[in-house]
Every structure is written in C-alpha cells, then in structure tokens.
Point group: C2
Chain length 198, copies 2
Amino acid sequence: MAEDTGIEALIELMARLPGLGPRSARRAVLALLGKRGQLMAPLAQAMAQVALNAKDCRVCGNIGLEDLCPICADPARATGEICVVEDVADLWALERAGVFKGRYHVLGGTLSALDAVGPEELGIPRLVRRVAEDGITEVILALAATVDGQTTAHYLADAIAETQTQVTTLAQGVPVGGELDYLDDGTIGAALRARRRL
Amino acid sequence: MAEDTGIEALIELMARLPGLGPRSARRAVLALLGKRGQLMAPLAQAMAQVALNAKDCRVCGNIGLEDLCPICADPARATGEICVVEDVADLWALERAGVFKGRYHVLGGTLSALDAVGPEELGIPRLVRRVAEDGITEVILALAATVDGQTTAHYLADAIAETQTQVTTLAQGVPVGGELDYLDDGTIGAALRARRRL
C-alpha cells in the first residue's frame, strides 16, 4: 500500500468534500496522481492561496480578499436595498443574473431548531442594526422556497418590521422556459394567485 | 462576483477531477470556503506534499516516495511472480485483498488504437525484458474482463511467450456472495466451463 506517502490521508480529506465519497475520492486522487505537474500542483497551490487570502466580509458575509467585500466597498451599489441570501452560492447566482444593484446580507444558513441554528448564528441582530443605521429602504428576502427558507423569511420579516423598513420577497411563479405540464401544483397555484394584467 | 480572489480559477481546476462537473466543483469549493482552517488548508497542504514527493517506481510503475516503490524494494516479495495490472487503483485493490506476495507491473492503461496507446506507452517491452532478465517464473495478468483489457491480455501473453515464462490470468466465475439470479449470462457460462471437483 501507499501508507507512508500521504496518499491515504489525502484521500480521506478529499472524501470530506460534498459529492465525493471514499471511492470517488480515491478515483479523484488517482487522476491527480496521473497529472501531478499539470493538475495536482496547480490545484494545491490555488487552494492554499484561496484558503490563505479569502476573508468573510465583516458587513455582509460575502467572500473577498479584504475585510470589506468588493460589493460592500463599491459606492455605486449603495442603493438602500439589501438582498438577504442563504449562502455565497446564492449571492453568486444573483450576481450572474446581473439584475440586482444593491448590497447583500449572507445568512450562512437557515434557522433550524434541530441543528441549533438561531438568529445569533445567522447574524440577524447585526442585519437589523444595519437596516436601522444605514437608512435601508428595502430588504429583499431571496431565500429558498423550502420550509426552512420560508420559516427564516417570516422570522426576518418580523424582526425587520420594527425598523419600519419595507420587506419584500422574490416572486413565485412559472420559471422562464417552464412548461405547465412539468410544474408542480404548488408552483401553478402560486403563479395563478399572483397573476397580473397583461 | 469573486473574480480576483482566485475562487473561479480554483473551481475550474476542481471541475477537471473525475466525478466533478462545473456545478459540483462549485459546491465543493463553497464547502471548502466554509471550512478554510479545518479542511481547505490541510487539503491544500496534503495535495502539495503528495504532488511534490510522489514518484513513479522505475521498475513497476507503482507510486511511492523513492525511485523504487516499497513493494519492489521489499526483498521478501521476490517470489518470481509478476502481477500485471491496469493502474495503481487495481494494485491497491490486490494489496487490500492481501493474497498476492509477488511484485507488480502497472501498465497505466490498456492498448487502444483509437487513443493511440501502443505497447511502448504501456511499458510492455520493458516488462518483457524484466521477465527475461529477472528470472520471472510466472506472469499473472490481472486485467479487467472488458474487451480492451482482454485484448491487452492476449497481446501480453504473445509478447511474453518468447521468454518461456508461464502466463496465467485471473479466474472468471461467481463472485463471493454473488447470487446466480443477478449474474449475467457471460459470467454464469464462464463459471460453468471452469467448474471444478468438490
């Protein structure tokens, strides 16, 4: 075996990534071993660099190189709107869409009694202070349409209500390119209730 | 976005691993970003260390820390038997089984006209020289029971025949714990033809 080469330890670490188990981690490491110069060394270096340099933005929780992320540091984005998202992946998805010009608040999860995730863990008191102090006019809740996401959204709406700031949420309805035939009943019902004049 | 943080570059490198696509690579990187200290930095270090230290054994092609892998360097394993495997994963599988006490030859693939993989690329001339020079008494072909694997096995058997060394191959039959009902016809046929006296 390869017990003293560090390969077993590497496989164990790789197996802790989401989407990889012990077998697929071994496959990935074997592929890396076959491309030590072209892939393994650059990947290790890129990973070490990001691990060293990436910082959580102290205002919104986004990931950047400084204490303040590029979005919070951009004066052009001070529109008085804060979009609340579950994690950085959702922030990236919104940025890819390129339609939101305000700033963000990354919760880092949803409220969960089972996992002992309360308002403090998600930085909700910090968000409420930020809304009150920065003269925010609208908080847009862009949370998942799941039970956990919607529970968190309702808690947030109640918490922010004290600051008199408008709280909105993403519209539910038929996705672009979506065929009615393939949509679930809940989505069709939501789209029908939220119908608008053409 | 996170264009200047190196995160995009890291995702692109991760997406080149087998079993990961662009989306799952992004998910893996996000998980790493959430555990920069506990997982990302150690993983980067383990990977860099293996990339730097791992060496292909100059005799068998196994991976180790020296020019000669621990198996080739172990005098207790000089049994005169060489087991030919497709890649290091197969060598590891045989070592896990712990029944083979000889040495290995790692081909690094199978003969493939389509991918321009010929005998030279697999080190077959080197293997034939090794068999002749080291007084090898038996070459065990532990190749996959696929068309490519069996084509390679037949080529190897012909190439080694010149050295008068015995060439054997793994038995085909019912796997341990296998139920006949779930086995394919080819395996049942092979097991029946190779039946033995109890």
